[in-house]
Amino acid sequence: MHRSKLFKLLIAFLALTMFATACGGSDDDSSSSSDSSSASETTESSSESSASEAAEEAEEAPAEEEEAEAPIVQDQEESVLEPVFGGTLRWGLEAEVDGINPTASALSAPGLTMMNAVFDTLAAYDVDGNTVPHLAESFTASADCKTWSMKLRDGITFHDGTPLNTEAVSVNFLAQFGDPLVGLAVRPYYSADEPITIVDDLNMNYNLTDANCNWPSALTGQLGAMASPTWIAAAQDDPTLDQQPVGTGPFIFESRVQDQVTRFVKNASWWGGDVYLDAVEFYPVTDGDIRTSLLLEGELDAQATTNVESIASLAENDSITQVLDDTGDESFLMLNSAKAPFDDIRARQAITHATPRDNYNTLINLDVTRKADQMFTPESPYYNPDVVQLSDRPDLAGPLVNAYCADNPSNCAGGKIDIEYQYSGPSVVGERIADLLSEGWADFFNVTVQVLPQDAHIQEAALGVYNSIGWRQFGAVDPGIDRVWLMCRAIGGISLNWPRYCDEDRDALILQADAATSTEEKIPLYQELSQKINEDYLYVFYHHTLWSLALRDGVENVCGAKTLEGATLRCQVNGRSFFQSTFLTD
């Protein structure tokens, strides 16, 4: 499904035209062309009421289907070469990570990447998007899907010799359960008195609060990464140990020089089979341009990036293979519904209409990425074609702003609403985006821009101190996982439901979908969910994030990871991939 030659041709074409364009050239091309053409046509043919506009959008829809946007997905072909043992893989990260403790740190993309080297997750996704057991042996649901039994594999030990058994898993689970931050994604979903039940050394039960027939997908990420209980206990006493993780994974932590390099060496007795590389080294290089040039010069073997300029320039280089995927998370503007002015839907709607999404995609994303209206991509079965986000419509914003300011003069000045926009920096791209957005909103909003370092940025989001913030989320392979960002129970002093928006009906849809057993049952539920999110105006979607794993020539078989039973695992999830199957031919 994802490896069609047509898509490869598309990428090659994109690449060719991309560099010509960058040189101030003529050709521009994107798979989102249908969007921009229909958008411009709609604005040209003006109509008064939004009803007739919506009708016009619907009329465009059939035309859009003809030029349906293709997903930008490209895996590295499975290698036909004989695996070669040895070598060190040098991987470039977007940022340094403070610690890789799945029970104590809120891991972002770079952290999750390193996590994959040293830890194994209990479950994983296969290439078709199904959840399959990985570190665990099997998962069985009870009839009502509220109790799940997990069976572990026998004979696996952590790097420090501690055995992997249900005792170890429960230490991990309880540590996460009790952590003030990580626990927010755990506590609301498991029975409060007895979240887990240990049956014997290898068997245990998870007791959920609500029926969830797709539950094992929750264990494909940070929550499913199992760490040595001995290490967890030691790290609780001495947090510096967070930086020296101990797991069951294909690589063992060796050394770390902060902001320079973290090094992991081969685990020769890995339970999952052969590990080919001698070592993996992670280099944090924050500047995307520099990271790319290091890759091109051969100083790095691979890197993960979402920077479209880099992706475009790498695409035209023959010695680089890129594993692309834009079916994952979305980038958007997030609004805080718990604080003025965005506690009023008119303000939220106004900013959605005023947002210059077209310019964003042209200038920041070089028209390469696909514009997003919802958290599903068009080829997903849950995609709702009727959900359209009306951005680049300043004509619609005006009346709403006037109405809001008439009712709330204290939040307005000069007929414009006072807002704060926050992003993480310092970052040149972040600043360009802030300028771009401010310019687009200038007629309706008085914008104060606030730049915060990454930690503070996340803090303010978690505490609901922000007004509007640039964010990236959703797109989980199993959409049920995204419940942690949407449900009412996720709101608290610290909230993972960042916009702090509670809608019981929305929760009900999510729970219903969780309890559903087939895709057909879920389709109408998720489509309605997308509809609700769209009408609540909490997120102003920009685009589907395009992730690229850029690999130097000689780096083979990155997409060849398999479970013990032989199922091929999904190659990358939001920039995170596996390292066990990779080998170097030079």
Partner: protein
């Protein structure tokens, strides 16, 4: 009162008094920095993250209490400063504020200080190597066209801020002509002449940092050289038939170097704090970039430690420069001063 003061002046020799003064100054600097950071920021927030405000949650409360106890946040400001100072003078710089994993600050300093020092060394060597021939050339053709051109050039270089210089040099030498590497990798070996050796990687940043100093040195040295060249012993050497080159380099140069050396010492002191921008731009993991990152993260122990190191270094080198200057001072008093010598520094 006066008696004690006079007695103190006699009993304690001047250099020691100066030293005590410097230490006092350092203490005040630390107090001001400590106070500023604690007033303007919130240490609890920086250590714990959002958990710090989540007072309804019992687990969070536990973490808050632990952090308060560990970092003595419940004590008063002066007491916290005193604790910090006491640890500091014994070599314990504390641990970094970070919400997961708190490595000791001294590790960070140990990794990063050598990078800045090697950058400074390369910069000064480049500066001096440029300044000497440049000023000799200008002095030997004083007031003629070469000299005027060189003066204007020196002036221009001093007017270009370091970040602009960095971009210009980077553009020409790395981007356009690809002569010099564009990244610095701390783990590369130092000695060597390929792009993979730090010595070569430091040329661009060193030049950026050093060119301004070179211009300043050139100015001083040229003036002093011109004066020296008017001395009798020079005329004597020339009349003895010594070649012009030898006269310049062997006879005239050495006596003229004093001012420049004084400036050199002061500059080194400056550079420790002044290499910030160059380190950021060329991505050299030195203490300059460390303090910028730490300030943005509000990682107070790191900022405090680096401010102390930079101030101390600054003061030490100025102390040295003063000492050098006093060597020539008595003679200055007897001389007729003619030209104004300037400087102005805002600590940049």
């Amino acid at each position: 009162m006066l008696f004690f003061r006079e007695w103190g002046k006699k009993a304690v020799p001047k250099p020691i008094r100066r030293l005590i003064g410097l230490l006092g100054l350092l203490t005040i600097v630390s107090m001001v920095t400590f106070g500023a950071m604690n007033f303007l920021g919130d240490p609890l927030f920086n250590i714990l993250g959002p958990v710090a405000a989540d007072v309804d949650n019992p687990e969070s409360l536990k973490a808050i209490e632990e952090a308060k106890a560990q970092y003595h946040l419940d004590k008063s400001l002066p007491e916290r400063w005193a604790r910090w100072a006491w640890d500091f003078v014994r070599g314990d710089f504390g641990v970094q504020f970070s919400s997961s994993g708190q490595p000791p600050v001294s590790d960070l300093i140990k990794e990063r200080l050598p990078r800045t020092l090697e950058l400074m060394a390369v910069a000064q060597i480049i500066a001096v190597s440029l300044a000497i021939p440049w000023s000799v050339l200008a002095a030997s053709r004083a007031n003629r066209r070469t000299d005027k051109i060189s003066t204007i050039t020196a002036f221009a270089f001093v007017s270009i801020p370091s970040f602009a210089m960095a971009v210009i040099l980077f553009y020409f030498f790395s981007v356009q002509w690809d002569l010099l590497p564009d990244t610095y990798t701390a783990t590369d070996p130092f000695w060597g002449i390929s792009h993979d050796h730090r010595l070569i990687q430091l040329i661009l940043p060193g030049f950026t940092l050093g060119i301004g100093s070179a211009a300043a040195y050139q100015r001083l040295l040229r003036t002093d050289l011109i004066t020296t060249l008017q001395q009798d012993f020079i005329l004597m050497a020339k009349s003895k038939g010594v070649s012009k080159r030898r006269v310049l380099y062997s006879h005239a140069l050495r006596p003229s170097l004093f001012s420049m050396i004084t400036l050199l010492a002061i500059n080194i002191g400056f550079m420790i704090g002044g290499s910030l921008v160059v380190e950021q731009f060329f991505r050299i993991p030195g203490i300059g970039s460390a303090v910028v990152e730490a300030t943005l993260r509000e990682d107070f122990p790191v900022v405090l430690a680096i401010v102390m190191i930079v101030s101390a270094g600054f003061m030490v080198f100025n102390y040295l420069a003063d000492y050098l200057y006093t060597l020539i001072d008595p003679r200055v008093r007897n001389e007729d001063t003619s030209k104004p010598r300037k400087i102005t520094s805002m600590g940049m």
